[in-house]
């Protein structure tokens, strides 16, 4: 049992100060901008909730938000089942385990804009490996910079390439923690593969899967660098996710008020969805 001890606050103090510096001050800055209008020269005028109102009636915001949700939905729908399938079929011990783990984790350690640049080189229509293969071997017409469908397919496949391993590693960690006795008992009972999966493996993987889904949700919902480097939001606006649009408004056009209002709504949505996920998945405990 944990003991009640208020002095524990002293242990937490360094973290508290650091995070307060990094989170509270910037958030307050954002809140401050979100209710003001500026014309440069450090002149600010009170705007009230005007920016929020405008934003909530703007089509541009909703379509960017829609694209962001579509992207995250696709990512979760592909990466989670795929990650579980791969983890289930991995060897449990022996020489190949570390080989699998190291090679699978590699994409996660590549800087995000290098990932974008790498996929750009990989998919160039005439000189990239994938682009050449699709265009000249399979005869499919593929050009990410012209065709929105191709651009979407490419950013989704890129993210599957980049992050499925996280789901694999976490599910695998859950799987290897299952004692052999469970499997033997299931065998004696004559349980089918599906029953083993449903009643032994899934419950044992539940905790790590929750972490995996939460992390994948947060990171894919906040994704910026990779799709920006790969498509720049194009062709047209077809892959302009919410984050890309936000940076465009904040750092490109320097429209501080609208960008700040957008930031707050963006952050609120991330928090809300994460919280709902978390409570739903933990409900059974």
């Amino acid at each position: 049992m944990k003991t009640q001890n208020q002095k524990a606050w002293f242990f937490v103090l360094p973290v508290l100060l650091l995070v307060a510096f990094n989170a509270l001050i910037p958030i307050m800055t954002v809140v401050n901008y979100s209710v003001q209008e500026t014309f440069g020269n450090n002149l600010f005028f009170w705007e009230g909730l005007g920016w929020f109102e405008k934003l909530l009636h703007s089509d541009r915001f909703y379509s960017a938000l829609g694209r962001q949700f579509f992207f995250t939905g696709m990512i979760l729908a592909i990466e989670v089942p795929l990650g579980i399938i791969i983890a289930l079929s991995m060897p449990k011990q022996g020489f190949w385990v570390p080989v699998c783990l190291v090679t699978m984790a590699l994409p996660m350690l590549i800087p995000w804009n290098v990932v974008g640049a790498m996929w750009n080189i990989f998919t160039l229509p005439d000189i990239g490996l994938l682009g050449y293969f699709l265009n000249h071997v399979l005869g499919v017409s593929y050009d990410m910079t012209q065709d929105p469908t191709a651009a979407w397919a490419t950013i989704i496949i890129m993210d599957v390439w980049h992050w499925t391993s996280l789901v694999v590693l976490l599910s695998y960690a859950g799987l290897v923690s299952i004692p052999d006795a469970y499997y033997q008992a299931a065998k004696i009972d004559g349980a089918s593969n599906w029953a083993v999966f449903r009643f032994i493996q899934i419950p044992k993987m539940k905790n790590v899967l929750t972490i995996a889904i939460l992390l994948r949700f947060m990171d894919s919902f906040n994704i910026y660098t990779e799709p920006f480097v790969l498509t720049g939001g194009g062709p047209g606006n077809s892959t302009t996710l919410l984050s890309i649009d936000l940076v465009k408004i904040a750092l490109g056009q320097f429209d501080l008020g609208p960008a700040a209002a957008m930031s707050l709504i963006y952050f609120a949505i991330t928090l809300l969805v994460s919280w709902v996920f978390y409570t739903l998945m933990m409900k059974d405990d």
């Binding site: 944990k2 009640q4 001890n5 524990a8 989170a23 699978m104 996660m108 905790n207 904040a250 750092l251």
Partner: protein
């Protein structure tokens, strides 16, 4: 070989293809790249790497990145250790709320923080310093480090603490001499994840630097656009950014999976 091993095998092949293409490109001359498609370099060259290792703007990018990443991991672990200990051992007023608040910082979109961070770090004179980027990255690394370390610390029985006090150990001596060796693996895993997320993040690192502390990844983007279409050079620089991660991952390969499995939730 069992049939089902084909699934991980195909997956790993899929992972390796773009990396293979990047590495191949880095050994080609720009002329060869633009002239057409070839699976292997026809005219093998090390020129791209020579440029990077002789031009200070390039190799300083690597030194900058490695400096702030190391600094960030050290700071994150140092402040996360006592906090994780408090969360794993004591109940105190507002502990659950504090823990959730810490995690929310992991959820904040970096795009939201870019501009206010720029202003904040300029105001306190940390703009364009390694320390500045390292501190900025603690925003998402400290919560993660606390989370992982707390999981490992909970696995250490409380009796260990009590025995040490009975034996007359002071708290700092107990923490360093007895407790830390017990959660060595946890510290390794936490340091690995701090390294990883600081190494791959670019938006904040780019926003907070101009010349002195500019990360390699940012130099890459800038050079790629200003020097025309130097694909070979870009590929060589990209290849070099994969190496530190590969080295680190090799050392912690046995702990990565375990690290998350032991975390809270």
């Amino acid at each position: 070989m069992k049939k089902r091993y084909f699934i991980p095998l195909i997956y790993i092949l899929f992972l390796m293809l773009p990396i293979y293409w990047l590495v191949t490109m880095s050994f080609k001359t720009t002329g060869e790249i633009l002239s057409g498609f070839s699976l292997f370099p026809q005219d093998f060259t090390l020129q791209n790497y020579r440029v990077i290792f002789t031009d200070p703007t390039w190799y300083w990018g690597y030194i900058n990145s490695i400096s702030y990443v190391t600094l960030n991991s050290a700071i994150s672990i140092a402040v996360a250790l006592p906090a994780a200990y408090a969360f794993s051992r004591y109940r105190f007023l507002g502990d659950k709320q504090l823990f959730f608040w810490l995690l929310t910082n992991r959820m904040a979109p970096a795009a939201v923080f870019a501009l206010p961070f720029f202003q904040l770090y300029s105001a306190v004179g940390l703009f364009d310093t390694h320390l500045g980027v390292a501190l900025a990255h603690t925003l998402f690394n400290v919560p993660l480090a606390v989370w992982i370390l707390e999981g490992f610390m909970r696995g250490v029985p409380k009796e260990l603490d009590e025995t040490a006090y009975v034996d007359g150990y002071s708290f700092p001596r107990f923490f360093v001499k007895i407790f830390l060796p017990n959660i060595k693996a946890g510290v390794g895993v936490a340091a690995f994840f701090c390294f990883m997320f600081s190494w791959v993040e670019l938006l904040l690192a780019k926003t907070l630097t101009a010349v002195e502390a500019k990360p390699i990844a940012a130099i890459m983007t800038k050079t790629a656009s200003s020097a025309g279409y130097e694909l070979g050079l870009l590929a060589a620089a990209g290849t070099l950014t994969i190496i530190p991660g590969a080295i680190v991952i090799y050392f912690v390969r046995n702990y990565i999976a375990k690290g998350f499995a032991m975390g809270r939730v």
